[in-house]
Symmetry: C2
Subunit: 122 residues, 2 copies
Amino acid sequence: MYTKKVMDHFTNPRNMGEIENPSGVGTVGNAKCGDIMRMYLDIDDNGVIRDVKFKTFGCGAAVATSSMATELIKGKTIEEALKVTNKAVMEALDGLPPVKVHCSLLAEEAIHAALWDYAEKK
Amino acid sequence: MYTKKVMDHFTNPRNMGEIENPSGVGTVGNAKCGDIMRMYLDIDDNGVIRDVKFKTFGCGAAVATSSMATELIKGKTIEEALKVTNKAVMEALDGLPPVKVHCSLLAEEAIHAALWDYAEKK
Ligand code: FES
């Protein structure tokens, strides 16, 4: 049912946790399953994402897609990060079962919410 | 949104893992969210559940309810374990949000499936 990469990121998630005094924080919920996700960003003066961490109550698919999403945006500029869609994350994981596609939206939406929070603070 | 007990069992789950050569194994899926759960039982000659472990790809509510369910059936007889419903597990956790009640069914169904597997083997 799940690819090797999904199982890898689920059992050994990257960048799980919190950032103290983050540049931006985004919290989103998934109406379909009731799960929640929070994304923390640390952004430097050049608009580069220096660090990113996430926390979720969501399922294995939410954990795996968030883990992969954080890897894809770490070290990138805000503009580049905005181009990392849930589709790109799923491709990087070699796919997700159709019933779990909605879980991958949590990461994308939480990143957007955190970038929005950063922009508003600036 | 979540009670203290739910957060405790989610962040520090009890009896997560596998049992080698279990007396019974049950694997179930949740049609509503596509999540899966596996429960392993070690049952002694007197029909007492000596050990129980679970693994899930499900969300935080699935983790918390499974963790609590394993605590409730460990050391109990098969007859007693069969009486541990998802309602009893949710009460032991001081409740779950309505949108997450379906997640608590995974543990109950996986326990029943594992007991069924044990009975078939005997
Ligand atoms: S949403 Fe699938 S187990 Fe909770």
